[in-house]
């Protein structure tokens, strides 16, 4: 037996598909338009950086903490950078408490890959002394899932990084709430997520569109125009030409998001 929430999703997904047959979206948006968005930085001052991102009704919070860690054996002078993601049970009727599932792992890894590939954070500056480096943890908290978690999460993560301060380190220990300066970022990276429904491609799915989607393409681009991470997800396929055209679109569509973060 499918759950009640799944059945309601299925019915609403059918409605999304019906409306889309005329090239329209249920909320009246253009196919390639974002919903209204906002980013608020510094919302959790106990963290070393934080942000709350809203994309339509979707909300993702990001918090950054630094800890002192042992470096990886093959990179003894580099700090450690990790993105984790929690789908909180309060965010969607089908989300359950427990260890990360394949969806939250996939989301965390996409955001991680974009930031890592874009070399946004210079982990070579995180060396403290032999056997000790700073580790930077980005924790993404999905608070309200109304579609397009990937773009909202990447927005939250990047905003929190621009808000982050490097903690003061004395005698190889972190002095909490004291800082040695802002976290320098070499470039910014954000994603644009496209969904394919009955062959039609649209940007920034809301909750019902997310449920109706058959194919997903997440493209993380840098503010200087490189493609830093990609992931095709769900079952529908894409053509090479389609992906290349969407790469151009992702650069256009993320421009206002980059501006909001830099503001």
């Amino acid at each position: 037996m499918a759950r009640e929430a799944d059945i309601v999703d299925e019915i609403r997904a059918e409605y999304v598909k019906d409306v889309l047959k005329n090239g329209q979206r249920v909320d009246g948006r253009e196919l390639l338009a974002y919903r209204p968005f906002s980013v608020q930085k510094g919302v959790f001052p106990n963290a070393e950086g934080s942000a709350l991102a809203k994309l339509g009704d979707t909300q993702v919070a990001a918090g950054i903490k630094f800890d002192i860690l042992e470096p990886f054996a093959d990179r003894p002078t580099e700090g450690v950078f990790t993105v984790q993601c929690e789908f909180l049970p309060l965010a969607h009727p089908t989300f359950e408490a427990g260890p990360p599932n394949e969806n939250s792992i996939e989301l965390a890894r996409i955001v991680d890959r974009g930031i890592r590939s874009g070399e946004c954070v210079d982990v070579e500056k995180f060396f403290i002394e032999e056997g000790k480096v700073l580790g930077l943890f980005v924790d993404l908290y999905v608070l309200d899932h109304c579609g397009n978690l990937s773009d909202c999460a990447s927005l939250a993560a990047m905003a929190a990084l621009t808000d982050a301060k490097i903690p003061k380190v004395e005698e190889a220990k972190i002095v909490r709430q004291e800082y040695s300066g802002a976290l320098p970022l070499q470039r910014l990276v954000l994603s644009s997520t496209f969904e394919k429904i009955n062959g039609t491609v649209l940007l920034d799915a809301d909750g019902d569109e997310d449920a109706a989607s058959e194919g997903r393409l997440v493209l993380a681009v840098s503010d200087d125009g490189f493609l830093c991470a990609s992931q095709k997800s769900k079952r529908a396929a894409f053509h090479a030409e389609e992906i290349l055209a969407l790469f151009d679109l992702a650069k256009d569509k993320t421009a206002p998001l980059f501006r909001a973060i830099k503001a």
Binding site: M1, A2, E106, A237
Partner: protein
């Protein structure tokens, strides 16, 4: 690691390959007795065993779909599979992500609507790894599904693409993968010219990505020939057919 070692000298890669050359590749279908379908792929130093079970009854039952078969996909690396330290057994976060995107490939390609209320289970076990294991695993799993007689739209396959020392290359080995500047695993359907799996990291321009897609489709053709031969060998015995089958 010896980061200074040049990986590309005079247009040749460390193992003598050209930029688009694939490593030696062989596939044997029907290598497991119990599984409904199976295949062992040896690709460079990679060895990946794939198996398919099903369509069979869904367990647990509440997961069943009245419209189609559900597909489960497992990708895991054996603790002894890498040249580095002993790994942990079972899928880690990376492996769970790979299992998920591999599942999407087969959700697309298997005619799931023919088998409502059933499940098809696919396993990819990496026994020895040397770069490009997800592409090798899915290529083998595709043969395992065919060996199990599960109807599909196409036999799918792919190669990994990357950029090493500024040059675009196909089928990266582990060393090239580790030292490389970008990594693009690709699985395609040659029949529909569609891309079924596409992941990417590293910083790429549009021109580079376009070239990688071309190289990927070209590489897939060579891989497909090996898959087809593996299935012919399985059912007709080796060397009994001419090239046209």
């Amino acid at each position: 690691m010896e980061k200074e070692k040049k990986l590309i000298v005079d247009g040749k890669r460390a193992d003598g390959r050209g930029m688009e050359d694939l490593r030696p590749l062989s596939i044997k279908a029907g290598v497991l007795k119990r599984a409904d379908g199976s295949a062992l792929i040896e690709w460079g130093r990679n060895k990946v065993l794939a198996a398919a079970y099903g369509p069979r009854e869904v367990f647990p039952k509440h997961l069943s779909n009245v419209h189609k078969a559900i597909i489960n996909c497992r990708y895991a690396m054996a603790p002894f599979s890498s040249i580095e330290e002993h790994g942990r057994s079972g899928p880690n976060r990376r492996a769970i992500e790979i299992g998920k995107v591999a599942k999407h490939v087969f959700e697309n390609i298997v005619l799931t609507k023919q088998f409502p209320k059933t499940q098809i289970d696919i396993s990819m076990e990496v026994l020895q790894s040397d770069g490009g294991t997800r592409v090798a695993g899915i290529t083998a799993a595709s043969v395992a599904l065919a060996d199990a007689g599960i109807p599909m739209k196409d036999l799918v396959q792919g190669v990994s693409l990357g950029r090493v020392e500024g040059q675009l290359v196909a089928d990266l080995d582990k060393y090239e993968d580790n030292q490389g500047e970008a990594d693009v695993p690709l699985i395609v359907s040659l029949r529909s010219r569609e891309i079924l799996l596409f992941q990417q990291d590293g910083m790429l321009t549009k021109e580079e990505l376009a070239r990688m897609f071309e190289m990927g489709f070209k590489g897939a053709e060579a891989v497909r020939a090996v898959q087809v031969q593996a299935l012919k060998d399985r059912y007709y015995g080796p060397h009994e057919l001419n090239e046209d089958g």
